[in-house]
């Protein structure tokens, strides 16, 4: 196993999280806005083709944060556009990210069905 790659993933992922933490502490952005900002930023960086270099360098350190989710949307869109044209702009993004989105919805639904909501102490 490539432990050097694991270390690089640890450091890169950590640095991306520090950027998020600074945004939380220094600005008045809500967590939802920060998530939206990170995904949009990832789509733009992925569309420009720059995020690919970070993925080559850090592997999951770049793909696991939400910027990686965004770059996956952009990557899927561009590769689909190259093969099918304009329709690809509408189908490619979700096709590439389908695994993550479906897993989040399905596991999220199951988890909320089986769990009991925490009863707040009065």
């Amino acid at each position: 196993m490539d432990w050097y790659m694991v270390l690089k993933a640890f450091i890169t992922g950590g640095i991306i999280c520090i950027i998020g933490q600074i945004l939380i502490d220094k600005t008045k952005l809500t967590p939802a806005r920060i998530l939206v900002t990170f995904v949009t930023l990832g789509v733009i960086l992925g569309g420009l083709g720059w995020y690919k270099y970070l993925i080559d360098f850090a592997g999951c350190g770049a793909t696991v944060p939400l910027t990686g989710f965004g770059s996956l949307l952009a990557k899927g869109t561009i590769s689909e556009v190259q093969t099918t044209g304009l329709i690809g702009a509408f189908t490619g993004g979700i096709k590439a990210a389908a695994g993550g989105i479906s897993a989040a919805i399905f596991f999220g639904y199951i988890a909320s069905l089986v769990s009991k909501p925490k009863i707040k102490k009065q």
């Binding site: 196993m1 490539d2 694991v6 993933a9 640890f10 992922g13 950590g14 640095i15 991306i16 999280c17 520090i18 998020g20 933490q21 939380i24 502490d25 220094k26 967590p31 939802a32 920060i34 998530l35 995904v39 949009t40 990832g42 789509v43 992925g46 569309g47 420009l48 690919k52 592997g59 999951c60 350190g61 793909t63 696991v64 944060p65 939400l66 990686g68 989710f69 949307l73 952009a74 869109t77 561009i78 556009v81 304009l86 509408f90 993004g93 979700i94 695994g99 993550g100 989105i101 897993a103 989040a104 596991f107 999220g108 639904y109 988890a111 909320s112 069905l113 769990s115 909501p117 925490k118």
Partner: protein
């Protein structure tokens, strides 16, 4: 206490009174928790590579497993404690996306399974998907218009 006249005066007053959030400590916690989640992802990825699964599918498997763990831990009320401790460290990785789906769904379960669980799941995930997908479609259209290598620096 003398009355506060201007907006700036009020802002300085608020800054004096609010306790300084320990930003260095928060950043450190965010760093190692976020880094750890990414490192776990990388270990899963390496295992997939040894088993001969191709790169794209491996990244999907990593996301799905992390999402599953996050949903599971949120259901057990453990993830919220990690989130309180780590801040952005658990929010920015895809675990935070899963958490943002499960926790409102759990909270609004009493409102029923369709308008409670089904609708409230997307209070945070909905905007993320809307902006992510819309931007990616715009990127695709821009790519069609300027289909040049100079714009897409690859």
């Amino acid at each position: 206490m003398k009355p506060i006249q201007s907006k700036e005066e009020y802002q300085t007053y608020v800054d004096q009174k609010t306790p300084n959030s320990p930003i260095l400590k928060n950043c450190f916690n965010a760093f190692w928790v976020g880094g750890l989640i990414c490192a776990i992802g990388q270990i899963i990825f390496e295992i997939c590579k040894i088993r001969g699964i191709d790169e794209t599918n491996s990244y999907t498997i990593v996301s799905m497993l992390l999402v599953f763990c996050s949903a599971f831990l949120t259901g057990l009320n453990i993830f919220n404690k990690i989130g309180k401790f780590a801040g952005a460290g658990s929010l920015i990785p895809i675990t935070g996306f899963a958490n943002s789906i499960v926790s409102p769904a759990m909270e609004y379960k009493s409102e029923g399974y369709v308008m409670g669980v089904g609708a409230k799941m997307f209070t945070v995930a909905g905007p993320v998907l809307v902006y992510g997908i819309s931007t990616s479609i715009i990127i695709g259209i821009i790519y069609i218009i300027f289909n040049t290598q100079s714009l897409i620096l690859v």
